[in-house]
């Protein structure tokens, strides 16, 4: 993947150094006792920088310090207004408590990424996700349609709700609603990443070893790393058919780049290369900040009352004879009833088209 690193990413790295001003001087660089870059510490990847560039920014790729401060202030005011509104974090018009997270849970921080970009996506240059393939759109629609139904069992909910993988724990690691922390440990030959989200880890060899056999599939994929100057480059593949990051499929090849850019800064970039799902590779970057906050154990599965309640609710509706009415199962969490409706309509239209072609 190294050879496919796009020119814009290279330009971007240079831009970061310019923007942050404080280049990491050669004699300040932290190295381990065996001579590789020291990435160790607890890293906070909360950010209000969106994955995709909001339309309002148009062609604007980077923020000035003033613009960043303004965005951060806006976000603080929104939060304060929401908190001041009392316990009504949940929109009562939904007639349900399906978006059960109030501000106690949400911990996205109030800072833009130190990269000072208008989006986490740095490539393509427009900061937007490339077009998804028809196959990936169909897969996504099938998932949404399924999630709009009362689940027969846990398999009909996604891997995050099942606590099999963490929604922001990766790979790739991405800012999410909460638990945006990871800690790195290093020993000769290994970089271990512990994510607070679901108490998970990756122990990544640094010898660039071959991946496990193609037939072996892991929920988190199989990661193998190598040092490239100051950067730890990790390639992850062999995902399961159920692992979906922003619509990716089992043949995603993910390349992550970890570069310490200062005593308290870790530049984290990743490239999603999955021609079966996206028409072009895309790259995202965030500057993580070092923190002294403790990483706590997030025992997701052990405390997964939500799954029990969802299944119990589904069985209750079946007993009441109302299960069939419902396309509205926890719909808003996934973009609302409209998203589920759109998914179901798209699937029906595709089926009709298929039937016409193949009578």
């Amino acid at each position: 993947m190294k050879h496919r690193l796009s020119a814009s990413t290279v330009t971007f790295v240079a831009a970061v150094l310019v923007v942050t001003g404080a280049a990491y001087a050669e004699d300040e660089k932290l190295v381990t006792s065996w001579g590789v870059p020291d990435l160790q510490g607890t890293w906070d990847y909360r950010s209000i920088t969106p994955l995709e560039r909001p339309a309002a920014f148009g062609d604007k790729a980077t923020l000035t310090a003033e613009e960043a401060a303004e965005l951060e202030e806006q976000r603080r005011q929104q939060r304060a207004a929401r908190a001041a509104s009392g316990v009504q974090d949940v929109d009562p018009s939904q007639g349900d408590v399906d978006v059960g997270y109030n501000s106690f849970w949400l911990d996205l921080g109030d800072k833009v990424s130190g990269t000072m970009r208008t989006s986490l996506i740095v490539d393509p240059p427009n900061g937007r996700l490339p077009k998804m393939t028809d196959g990936a759109i169909r897969r996504a629609n099938e998932r949404y349609a399924l999630w709009g139904q009362p689940p027969a069992g846990p398999e009909e909910r996604n891997s995050y709700e099942r606590c099999i993988v963490g929604f922001n724990a990766g790979p790739p690691v991405t800012p999410g609603a909460y638990n945006n922390m990871m800690e790195i440990f290093q020993s000769r030959g290994y970089v271990a990443i512990m994510t607070e989200m679901i108490n998970d880890h990756r122990v990544i060899p640094t010898d660039g070893r071959e991946h496990v056999d193609e037939s072996m599939r892991f929920w988190k994929g199989d990661s193998s790393g190598v040092w490239d100057g100051d950067t730890f480059v990790v390639t992850t593949k062999n995902y399961t058919e159920h692992t979906a990051y922003r619509g990716t499929g089992p043949n995603l090849v993910l390349t992550e780049r970890f570069t310490r850019t200062g005593p308290d800064a870790l530049l984290y970039e990743y490239t999603v290369d999955d021609p079966e799902s996206f028409e072009a590779p895309w790259t995202s970057a965030i500057e993580m900040r070092r923190t002294d906050d403790p990483v706590l154990e997030y025992a997701c599965h052990e405390g997964n009352r939500a799954m029990t309640l969802m299944l119990r609710g589904a069985r209750h509706r079946e007993q009441q004879g109302t299960a069939e009415d419902g396309k509205d199962w926890l719909a808003s969490w996934y973009g609302g009833q409209n998203r589920v409706d759109a998914a179901q309509e798209a699937l029906e239209a595709a089926k009709e088209e298929q039937d016409q072609q193949d009578p």
Binding site: P154, N199, E302
Partner: protein, 271 residues
């Protein structure tokens, strides 16, 4: 890959030479050191016994799930408990026996819950140690669970109880001593109903005994459940495969959900 194998063989040879020199000097095996001078515990390790089935002496027994045939049978094992038996208070022994009688429904590990300490150590899958001067990180293949042992925070307390507990380590000679506190009361010690309360305190000792082995010991104190502290011990072995690595064992979809939610599936008999 050739380059890699060569590097591995060269470092292996170097290690042999170093060990030979050390042995020649004082006749006793001495643990290799990390760059900061402590015994090197890095590697992929695994217990090789049936303690995860039952810490105490047990003869082989039938599987409670006949569909597995002989493949599901529980193997015999000698006791890993010093003195043979766990010193339960009378009520607690009754509780243990009741747990055992309804083991498959009650064992938290059947649901893929975090096994806690010491059980995580002797689950039948490897774990990897990544050792740094400030922390010893334990990555367990079983369930993908994680535990940092902190060497740089003596005297601190857990913010909250947790399934893995709060682990503070220090070196006593060549032994890594880990004091584990603040575990939730929900974990068991094995698949035979052996249990504890929220007062559990575990002191673990990890000591290298050879190039590919380690001695493991855990002393368990819980005045709510036991009449006195008791100790388990066992060797841990290095995984020697040339390409040894932690693999993925996400037990939630591998049966954990069946144990946790099976009664709530569509078509299941209502509670």
């Amino acid at each position: 890959m050739h380059k890699h194998s060569l590097a591995v063989s060269l470092s292996a040879m170097l290690l042999l030479v170093v060990s030979a020199v050390v042995q020649a000097q004082d006749g006793a095996w001495e643990a290799p050191r990390t760059p900061d001078g402590n015994p090197d515990l890095n590697g992929i390790w695994q217990a090789m016994n049936s303690a995860h089935w039952d810490l105490e002496a047990h003869h082989a027994r039938r599987t409670p799930v006949p569909a597995y045939g002989a493949l599901g049978a529980i193997p015999a094992g000698l006791s890993v408990v010093e003195g043979g038996e766990i010193p339960y208070q009378d009520w607690a022994l009754e509780q243990r026996n009741a747990n055992r009688a309804d083991w498959l429904n009650l064992d938290p590990a059947a649901k893929c819950f975090i096994p806690g300490i010491p059980r995580a150590t002797y689950m039948p899958l490897p774990f990897q140690i990544v050792q740094t001067p400030k922390a010893v990180f334990f990555a367990y293949e079983w369930g993908g669970n994680s535990r940092p042992v902190r060497l740089d925070r003596p005297g601190t307390r857990a913010v909250l109880p947790s399934w893995m507990g709060y682990s503070l380590g220090h070196w006593e000679g060549d032994t890594l001593v880990v004091e584990v506190t603040d575990q939730v009361p929900d974990t068991w010690f094995d698949a035979s109903g052996n249990f504890h309360s929220e007062e559990l305190q575990v002191v673990e000792r990890y000591t290298r005994t050879g190039p590919d082995s380690m001695h493991y010991e855990a002393t368990i104190t819980d005045p709510n459940v036991f009449t006195e502290p008791w100790t388990i011990s066992m060797p841990l072995y290095r995984r020697l495969e040339e390409n040894a690595r932690l693999l993925e064992f996400k037990c939630i979809p591998l049966g954990g959900e069946d144990a946790a939610y099976g009664h709530l599936r569509r078509g299941a008999t209502p509670e």
